[in-house]
């Protein structure tokens, strides 16, 4: 590969371009990528995380799958499914843009990407987006003395013509030593339906998981229906609420439950990831 790489890296800009030539080339390639202009994200180090490392994992899986499909199609004419994802992990793509990835920390702790459930979404997806968590207010006590975290994601940035085929909310939970050592906890995610000034918001339970307090790892909640609803009705997107309770219904403080929020390490911050399928053939705008 290394040899191939060198061979491939022939520079296509043979001479110093004049500014307008460079701009023309950039505009041409942006239109091939279906982008009206070049994005200007604020610098990665300052932003709230949208899980670039997780997405890099998906990118590796996707490109490895394409490469294997090509070679297999050339040799046997048969397509393969993503179930070989596990093998794809060996070909990790190094993170070229200064993302110091600790492969052991992330991959061994990374979300359960290799589940066939994810693999199917990735197989079908034309696009996958992970969204920046816009707001996170820890309310230690709500009016009804409930600990909860709030999250909000802006789904209006989705390119036209893309339909959500699956969406997940992922949050990391460290094992929580101490007094909850042997307790079973219930982590629940709610969609905020309506907010009030002086009392708790009206919420709708989307998903919940029972876990041992001593466990650690990623919790994945399916919020496909809610995401589709928000895409169609952006004004009704009032975010999510996550709360942790003991089995007898006592609300627990997030930190003692080991839930990692916005202030955790970038590789463990909560995020929403959505898988899309293009609902129509996108044509380049004619110039």
């Amino acid at each position: 590969c290394a040899l191939g790489d060198n061979h491939v890296h022939s520079s296509f800009i043979y001479r110093r371009l004049r500014n307008h030539e460079r701009r023309e080339i950039q505009r041409e390639i942006l239109s091939i990528l279906g982008l009206p202009h070049r994005p200007k994200p604020f610098s990665p180090s300052k932003q709230a995380s949208s899980a670039p490392l997780f997405m890099l994992d998906l990118y590796n899986a996707m490109t490895t799958e394409d490469a294997e499909e090509d070679t297999l199609l050339e040799t046997t004419g048969k397509a393969i499914s993503l179930n070989t994802l596990g093998s794809s992990r060996k070909n990790q793509h190094s993170a070229p843009y200064g993302y110091s990835r600790a492969p052991v920390a992330w991959t061994s702790q990374s979300p359960p990407l290799a589940t066939s459930h994810d693999a199917n979404f990735l197989n079908d997806a034309d696009m996958v987006m992970s969204f920046v968590n816009l707001v996170e207010r820890d309310r230690d006590f709500s009016h009804q003395r409930r600990h909860y975290k709030e999250f909000r994601f802006d789904l209006t940035q989705i390119p036209e013509g893309e339909a959500v085929t699956a969406a997940e909310f992922r949050i990391y939970k460290d094992h929580s030593p101490g007094r909850y050592e042997n307790v079973t906890l219930k982590v629940s995610i709610y969609q905020v339906i309506k907010e009030y000034q002086n009392r708790d918001a009206e919420t709708f339970l989307l998903d919940s998981k029972k876990i041992r307090a001593s466990d650690g790892g990623w919790l994945v909640f399916d919020i496909t229906a809610t995401s589709n609803h928000w895409v169609l009705n952006p004004q009704q997107n009032m975010g999510l609420q996550l709360c942790v309770e003991t089995m007898d219904g006592r609300s627990i403080n997030m930190k003692s439950a080991g839930i990692i929020g916005r202030n955790g390490p970038q590789s463990k911050q909560p995020f929403l990831v959505a898988f899309f399928k293009a609902s129509e053939v996108l044509l380049r705008s004619v110039r």
Binding site: V8, H9, S10, S11, F12, I13, Y14, R22, I25, Q26, I29, I32, L33, G34, R38, P39, K40, P41, F42, S43, P44, Q47, A48, S50, A51, P52, M55, L56, L58, Y59, M62, T63, D66, D70, H93, A95, P96, Y97, Y99, A125, D126, M127, V128, M129, S130, F131, V132, D154, Q157
Partner: protein
């Protein structure tokens, strides 16, 4: 990048020559076949050289490839010609001034994936299907 090559006069000579006998024409075409048979050429688009490292996470660039070369009689196996191209070639031999030769074009296309930040720093992994030439042939 191939612009200069396409304009070289020797390449056009075949076309502007006065009509000659069939045999010499075939000789000519052999010559054109040696010139450049239809094949895949490399064009590497480097996001890095475009100064896009701040918003494209991966890849650093992609091999875009393009198809270029002659589709002249005889079309033999290595040109990966379609049946239609063979008919096009025969009709061109009969009416060279009216009917063009078959052209060198992609016969198979590949997808590429690009991982990048959008304006709100969300991360987008997009698969562009039918994006990159995998093989070329005469059509």
């Amino acid at each position: 990048a191939t612009g200069g090559k396409r304009k070289n006069p020797s390449r056009n000579k075949g076309r502007s020559q006065p009509k000659t006998s069939q045999a010499s024409r075939i000789g000519d075409q052999n010559l054109s076949e040696q010139k450049q048979a239809c094949k895949k050429h490399e064009l590497y688009v480097s996001f890095r050289e475009l100064g896009w490292q701040d918003w494209i996470i991966a890849p650093e660039g992609y091999a875009a490839f393009y198809c270029d070369g002659e589709c002249s009689f005889p079309l033999n196996a290595h040109m990966n010609a379609t049946n239609h191209a063979i008919v096009q070639t025969l009709v061109h031999l009969m009416f060279p001034d009216n009917v063009p030769k078959p052209c060198c074009a992609p016969t198979k296309l590949n997808a590429i994936s690009v991982l990048y930040f959008d304006d709100s720093s969300n991360v987008i992994l997009k698969k562009y299907r039918n994006m990159v030439v995998r093989s070329c042939g005469c059509h």
